[in-house]
């Protein structure tokens, strides 16, 4: 069957991934009520973009990623890749060939060596013989794990196992890489090193940068993305580049200890709403309030002997303003 010129035109400019009105619910149990994990969600991702799905636990990120990774299917809505519905078997197979996924738990067999794991992955993608050996050498060199290829995965450190898992996902040279909370369990330095490596790999081929979709609840990770999609209770609440989102808040955040009732009174009297996030009370003073209000507030807090910090808005503040809810306090949650 031949396609019409209009269809070619359509697919040539179609996003690499498009989600239309996706709905996925989970049945309730005796202890938990039924809930819609993803509710009428639509989004579009262009080829070569690095997109971060930002939201706290339960915002629908993982459910969305399971659907995008073809591990689950939606009740309603559809997923299109380059303009074609994934519902067709041929398109699904082609999509899976173009897909690399890094999950929260490394998809490696701990009893096998890194090389054996990568060889198995190559076989699953139909890469055989010398092609497989070359592909393993290529990803091992890229991720600097060549000297650990003969080690069993169970003996590797968390950071190294993560790199090996990324090597597994990159082995078939995917055009789309999905990372689901892929830095979970890594310490700060290992997390930064992993993200640096990912950024370098993405642009390794300047002519065709890899598309990356990354779920996270950490702001510093989301800051790396070209575009941040903020999810809340299964809905896409806002999107934009990290800078756009911060500028959209247009506010300065004032942070002080949550335990101080005096601070609460000072903010209330100034007519500025506050939110408690972990041990912090955060007030967002908008452009209309600045700069006099901020100076006034600062002097009142100082006179009351309350420790406080004035900072430019963060993605966490943008999320707070868009949803009224806070991202979980984590190690990457500092401005």
């Amino acid at each position: 069957m031949h396609s019409s010129p209009e269809q070619h035109e359509h697919t040539a400019h179609a996003p690499i991934l498009q989600v239309e009105n996706l709905v996925r619910s989970y049945k309730g149990t005796r202890r938990t009520p039924a809930r819609r994990a993803v509710d009428s969600l639509s989004l579009s991702i262009e080829e070569g973009e690095w997109v971060a799905l930002l939201g706290p636990n339960g915002s629908g990120k993982s459910t969305l990623v399971r659907i995008l990774a073809t591990l689950d299917k939606p009740e309603q809505g559809r997923v299109l890749t380059s303009g074609h519905d994934l519902a067709t078997k041929a398109q699904l197979a082609a999509y899976r060939r173009a897909l690399g996924v890094v999950f929260q738990h490394a998809g490696l067999d701990k009893l096998m060596t890194v090389r054996e794991n990568l060889a198995a992955q190559a076989a699953l993608h139909g890469i055989r013989g010398t092609d497989a050996a070359h592909a393993i050498d290529r990803v091992a060199a890229m991720l600097t794990i060549a000297d650990r290829l003969n080690d069993r995965v169970g003996t590797l450190s968390g950071g190294l196992a993560r790199r090996c898992d990324l090597a597994r996902a990159l082995l078939p040279q995917p055009r789309l890489l999905i990372l689901d909370e892929a830095t979970t369990g890594l310490d700060h330095d290992a997390r930064i090193a992993f993200l640096d490596q990912l950024a370098a790999l993405r642009t390794a081929d300047q002519s065709c940068p890899m598309t990356i979709i990354m779920t996270t609840h950490l702001m510093d990770e989301a800051e790396r993305a070209c575009r941040v999609l903020m999810l809340h209770e299964g809905h896409l609440v806002c999107e934009g580049s990290p800078q756009e989102l911060r500028e959209r808040v247009g506010a300065t955040s004032i942070r002080c200890p949550a335990s101080s009732t005096q601070a609460e009174t000072i903010f209330r009297e100034a007519g500025i709403p506050t939110t408690v996030r972990g041990r912090e009370r955060i007030a967002l003073a908008g452009p209309a309030d600045q700069p006099n209000t901020i100076a006034e507030l600062a002097s009142k807090l100082a006179l009351a002997g309350i420790a406080f910090q004035i900072a430019p808005p963060t993605l966490g503040d943008a999320y707070l303003e868009a949803t009224g809810a806070a991202l979980t306090q984590q190690n990457g949650d500092s401005p």
Binding site: H2, T70, A98, A106, H125
Partner: protein
Amino acid sequence: MTSAHTSTLNAAPNSSGFSSAFALTRRELVRITRQPSRLIASIATPLIIWLLLGSGFAESFRPPTPTPTLSTSLDTATDALGYGAYLLPGMLTMTVLFSSIFGAMSLIEDRHEGFLQSVLVSPAPRWSIAISKLLGSALIATVQAMIILPAVFLLGNAVGPLGLTLSSLALFCTALGIAGIGLAAAWWVDSSQGFHGVMNLVLLPMWLLSGSVFPLEGASGWMRVIMMANPVTWCTKALHASLGNPATDPALAWAVTILFACLGIALGWVTLGRGVRRF
């Protein structure tokens, strides 16, 4: 149009189901060699039980005289059959039962550790995943039982190459059947502990009522009905027949054994092939 377009989505080669199945089966075999404790326990347990039961019941065991309606191939050897010789095929059955069920249980481990997800998002056909799990579990179980099999020579059984081949086939078919049931259960049970519970509830009575410990011909009433409905009974009978022990209805035993293997393959196929939620 679809094919033209899909080829531009990724230049990676099409995944061959056979190479995927081979790679995943190989993984199952490599894993067992890296778990020597699992290997030793699965062989030592039936040997110890064989030794204890065989010694304990040796004097009190009397092979029953079969009823005329069931008797089709019994000969005078029945009377000469000791309990140790009678029990050995049952121990081989026990080895394949528990080994193949543990093989199937690795599906739960694969799911928790993320390996299964990485396979499911790959372009490998679903049937190759099912076949590799079934084949891997069944091969390991059969080889473990075959390590015990030479014990027949200690008992003075004159088993030729054909007998050994048929015994291995019966063991392999039994292992496939059990692995299929195990995979279906492992797909729906979320924890290894839960799976252990379910399997002990089902597998232990299944083995005890398979003619492994006491013969079908000696059972009466309701127990006889259950034993005849138990496919493992017929697998054990096929094993008895292969090893030259007196066995009734060997043709029926073989038919049920092969059917049981087919059922296992079908169960594994349907569970892993169609049970996966996908587009």
